[in-house]
Amino acid sequence: MNEKHIVSSFDRDLESIQATVMKMGGLVEQALVDAAKALKTRDIGLAEAVRKGDKIVDELDRSIKTDAARLLALRSPTAGDLRTVLSVMEIASHLERCGDYAKNLAKRTVAMAGSGEIAGTITALGRMSAFVEAMVRDSLDSYIQRDTKKALEIIERDLEADQIYNNLFRSLLTHMMEDHRNIAVGMHLHFIAKNIERVGDHATGIAEQTLYLVTGELPDDDRPKEDRTSVALQDSDD
């Protein structure tokens, strides 16, 4: 919808709330990049900066929710305008969670400082976080460009994120079973992997909001999932 509202301040409100969510997205992407870099290079200073930076993300989330409530109350948006406001609120929640995961990654980086590492996993985690960070970036692009094709691609890509996580999970489990001294760091690394995997789910959630904004309908919740680790231990017992 390119036409302008008769009441031009309505346009400004809608643009402003979307600009804020994009700004929030930019901060979250950077936090993910920095957190992954801090993990890889064991940069405690950078990790602390990521932890502190999450406050701004949380504040933006609150400010978006407040603006959205005001817009709903004062403008009574309908149709595409209504979907814009509702989807912005959803996306802000997804991004806020992603910010929390980046912060958690940074916290664990600090906690693991000085302990040994498990061969190959840090590199794999770096690849995985770059993969989901790109998903977040592209999902926000799909939203702002109203690009449903791109949104559907992201939903597909989440399968791959799940697979990377599955492999990491198995590898970490093997290392921990082989040598119990690996367990402390292995648990941290596993939570990091799981959190990164969750970021991919949130990127998928954002992509779904693109579909909702454009078509007025949310996709069914029967998208294929590849994260099978919740049943992994039963499997190994069989």
Binding site: E3, H5, F10, G216
Partner: protein, 265 residues
Amino acid sequence: MNDMRKIERDAKMAETKITARNVNVFYGETHAIRDVNVDIADKTVTAFIGPSGCGKSTFLRCINRMNDTIDICRVTGDIQLDGTDIYATSVDPVQLRAQVGMVFQKPNPFPKSIYDNVAYGPRIHGLARTKSDMDEIVERALRRGAIWDEVKDRLDQPGTGLSGGQQQRLCIARAVATEPEVLLMDEPCSALDPIATAQVEELIDELRQDYSVVIVTHSMQQAARVSQKTAFFHLGHLVEFNDTDEIFTNPKDPRTESYITGRIG
């Protein structure tokens, strides 16, 4: 969706009351309504929305042949009420208007007592034989108009002495006194304050139990609040007709979207 109103709405989607096919209306040379086709359901509130001059009131007035009173107005096409062509020569427009009642923008009570305002229609249509019959009809109509408690002690006082909102509810009571099947409302709340508007909207929701209600409104929020079906008119065309929920959350036609989101007037 767990919206109780939606469940209620779906359950009540009743059979068709009014069928309009290829309706065109001309005022002299002006082509006011262009090929409108619509099915209006019984026991449902249908809202007509659209910018000024889009033809929504004109179309509403076709349904009880109010346009007959305008000399230069010409209506073509087919409008049926329960399968009967209302423009057939055998149909008496006065009789039709008892079946299809109307409420106008400005409350217009007769300069008579509250009682006589309501009794007028039933009297000319010979619906009551005795005084007690008439008392019963008047009370029932005033109760349906949700105004009985406010006026029962002063039925002999002039209807024009009531407040605007009360006058409008009196007019609704007057319209339902002849036991119509369809109730047409042309901006019934535009002259009322928000409280009186809420009372009339509550009344419209109750009336839907018994009647097919068609309401023309400039307030899109009102259409969203009171109706189950919404028709959007633009430049004489019926652009989109669908469930009210759909029209306001996910309209299919870009013109509908532009109008309800405040982009075209």
